[in-house]
Amino acid sequence: MTSSTKFESYFHVLRDVIRAMHSITNLQEVLDIVVTKTSGALDAKGALLRILNKETNQFEVRAACGLGERYLAKGPVTTETVLSTLSELDKVYIITDIWNAPRVEYPQATWDEGVRMMVDMPLAIDEPIGLIRIYFTEQREFSDDEVDFIKTVAMHCACVIERVQIMESQQSKFSHLAAQMDKLSSLGRMAAGIAHEINNPLAGILLYSSNLSKKVPPGGLLEEGLKIIVKETQRCKTIIQGLLEFARDRKPQRALVNINDIMESALGIVENEFHLRHVRVKKQLDKVVEKVYLDENQVEQVFINILLNALQAVEDKGIVTVQTVVDLEHKKIHIEISDNGCGISPDDMKRIFEPFFSTKANGTGLGLAVSYGIVENHHGDIHLFSEPGKGTRFIIEFPFLVDNSIGKGGA
């Protein structure tokens, strides 16, 4: 091939790769084009493209051409070996000594395949995401143009892979979130229906048991048993009220309020419980008084729920820190409630806002689910950071609302 026709063929390969990149419906198509066209343009025997699976930390074959089944059936390559030799991510590695190169995992199989020389090009954007290996049946020299060509293809290919990976991860995050929301609302509806039906039988139980408990000999086992029935039935009532509260359409009744006042009021309500457990509250309330439209009662409920969770998480003499920050620049109110308690395990973290999920013996599993709904209805955000053994940090953000027009429907 003359140098001008070679140049033309490189150009065609690049054009095909870029065209595929821009019209991608699936990544596989691009990868197949990259291996076949690159291998063809370089008069190679074949090529292999591996992508690093970040979850398993293994390089997985994603596209190949010109290589025998037996060679392809060889086991996975050692990730460590590949990564340790990828010190320069934009460098083309030319392997001439198949038998002694540390990068060659299966020299015998490679030799049997008729391969006498290989070229490795890392696929990387800041960090390695894959590798293209090109196989040749005889040793030869590579011109600067050829090396440039390989680098350019690799660069484009890496961009596509990264873009697709970002898209896929966003998509999976979104569908997870959508499924979560769906689950929340259907659970809520179901809860309301069940709650309603259960209150009738409970009414029978409570009326008869409370009435009977006065007719049995005082101080006996019968009286004790009946009183337990009365108490437990009343507990069911409380749980069901929580369920109904959760399922209710909570439209915020907004008014202009000062976030610090709400926090002080919430702290006042839980004060006694904190005092009993010798848990200290450190307050860092922003002095900037910017009144915002919030539903005072609902937001107070959120704070109480989180404060009580924090109290539950800390040992006696633990510390719970509350902080409010008025962010005038971003027009947001930022509230942080953190503790130095037991923290939340990663498994529990995933389910923490699910209704009925609780790690407390007597928990209804509705506190945080309700809180999540309230913050959502205020167009706010709730974030959670936790490390087992170190503590938990809840961050809530409410946007400033200039008027009371949003969420006024419930008023």
Partner: protein
Amino acid sequence: MKSLKVLVIDDESVICGACDLVLTEKGHTVDYCKTGKTGLIAIERGTYDVILLDMKLPDIDGMEVLKSVREKMPAPYMIVMTGYSTMSNAVQAMKLGAADYLSKPFTDDELIEAVEKACAQQ
């Protein structure tokens, strides 16, 4: 305590029976109906001091019963019972003339207190 004539309107036999037991023991007389329509007929015919009315009835809505009873003179003392204890429900029932509100489940004492408040009102 004056003996009161009480009518319970609820489709659940257990609740009717329980209210009957608790109130009869306190010296009141209790009748009960299991539908809204029979309840309205009973109210029309009888002279009840207190009506215990369930909000969820098989034929007509408790709110409808309240509206019909409101026009009756003299209006009996209406206590609304419901398993769906939300504030807006209570407020709506009160607006329609209910005097009190019991959210299911309730204890015998709560029932007696609510019913006997009727005496104080009359």
